[in-house]
Symmetry: C2
């Protein structure tokens, strides 16, 4: 994961350089948002999937970077005062705290099209049909039937206590859709069979929920210093989480169960899926 | 233009329907933003260009709708309190006044990927290479080297008075980039020659500036009722505009001159460009 993080960061840095003309500080703020310390979990999923299909590294790296840019943009907007109003992210002041709200809105607005720009480049894949399928997948995952409606439901959850099904659907949209695209995209690049794509989607679905449940546990048990963002926020906002609904012990057991289930979906790939399996273990064992 | 507007609105309405599952009101707010009364100037440019190349209507309509969605998202975000803080748009309360700031941010965030989703559909064009070129063009026009950096420069202009070159560059990015893509996209769909694409880009560049100068004149001379948005805002914010730098008379003369120059770029198309030329005349003669 550390190696993937470095490779993605170097790639993103190369693509976040403005011209010499005045830009009002836009590129500096985009770099701040995109290159802050972070796990680069979604890129790691893409690169592990690339290993599975023996994909060329530069090709997978473009897709990994595109997905990380979309994830970053969503964090920048979610942290805004009118949204979750967070001051701390990845152990540093959030983008709007550092550069102001207007700039933070525009940083997000600029990162999203840049992700699509990365995908359409011929170096992503020689066949335009494959690039089109990636653009479609990212647009759907990040749009009104994916990530954005998930965030909308999350905001609405401050006024309406969700049950377990409600929380599950919310998280499958808010974080799950992009994680699923990260897992499926190597299969798109490899023009893999429908069965293999479905197996990766099923893996991603369980993995995404396990990831979110672990996040909820860290929100209760972690410290801001370790987690790198404010903790205890869901409880103080009166929001239902997997932990508030299940308790810590049962939540942890559910995350573990989901990860076993997730790993089972990879059986069809045999030993080739070792890195993806390891990422799954990381998800439920991490402390930040 | 009215016919184009109705066709685009009907198309957009069909693509802004949520599922029966809860969406926190996202689709209602997206419809409100996207279907408010407006000129649909950019779609009209696309459809006039489609006439030039005798393109199939459904194909051009998808591109027109995609561009209008991006334009709409930019208005929703630009109107936010942390940006231009506007209460009135297209004669109605702005999206954040009607639905709250968080929803307005998310409406914009959802409209942008939807635009790309529309473009990648096979009905846009049978060849994936052409769709890729459209995605690339829209991503560049709407991104950090186009519309977004233009808005960033516009915000910075509250603290720094721009000269004519500065204002021109700002507007070429903020509104010009998307107008240029609207004019060029029919040539992309038609797989037209580089010369024809360049002629349309040159037309668009002059047209976009003439459009913006006319906007500045209406901001001084128009009433909110006629224009459908707050007027006199640039002057009260102390921002330089074409009118503050040139005066109304010289600004009008420049807009007229630019439109003559724009029309001349269409000479290579002969009578086929009649509708595009008429749109040019509309730009400088409109009162709203």
């Amino acid at each position: 994961m550390a190696a993937t993080g470095r490779a993605v960061d170097a790639f993103v840095r190369d693509h976040l350089t403005g011209s010499s003309a005045p830009d009002g500080g836009l590129f500096e703020a985009m770099q701040y948002a995109a290159l802050g310390p972070g796990k680069r979990f979604r890129p790691a999923l893409v690169m592990a999937g690339a290993e599975l299909f023996a994909l060329p590294h530069p090709s997978a790296l473009r897709v990994a970077a595109a997905i990380e840019l979309v994830h970053t943009y969503s964090l920048v907007h979610d942290d805004l005062p009118c949204m979750d109003d967070d001051d701390l992210r990845r152990g540093r002041p959030t983008t709007h705290v550092k550069f102001g709200e207007a700039t933070a809105v525009l940083v997000g607005d600029a990162l999203l099209p840049l992700a699509f720009e990365l995908l359409v480049h011929p170096e992503t894949h020689s066949r335009a049909e494959v690039r089109i399928e990636l653009v479609r997948g990212l647009a759907v995952a990040s749009g009104a039937h994916g990530m954005v409606v998930g965030q909308m439901l999350d905001l609405a959850a401050e006024h309406r206590v969700l049950d377990l099904d409600g929380i599950t659907r919310l998280q499958e949209l808010k974080t799950g859709a992009l994680i699923t695209f990260a897992c499926e995209s190597p299969a798109v690049l490899a023009e893999a069979s429908g069965g293999e794509r479905a197996a990766l989607r099923a893996f991603a679905r369980d993995l995404g929920l396990a990831f979110q449940i672990t996040d909820d546990i860290l929100d209760v048990e972690g410290t801001a210093a370790a987690v790198g963002k404010g903790v205890g926020k869901d409880a103080s906002a009166g929001k239902a989480t997997f932990v508030s609904l299940l308790g810590v012990e049962a939540a942890r057991a559910r995350a573990d169960g989901l990860m076993e289930q997730a790993a089972a979906h990879l059986d069809c790939f045999g030993a080739r899926a070792a890195t993806l399996r390891a990422l799954g273990r990381f998800v439920v064992q991490r402390s930040a």
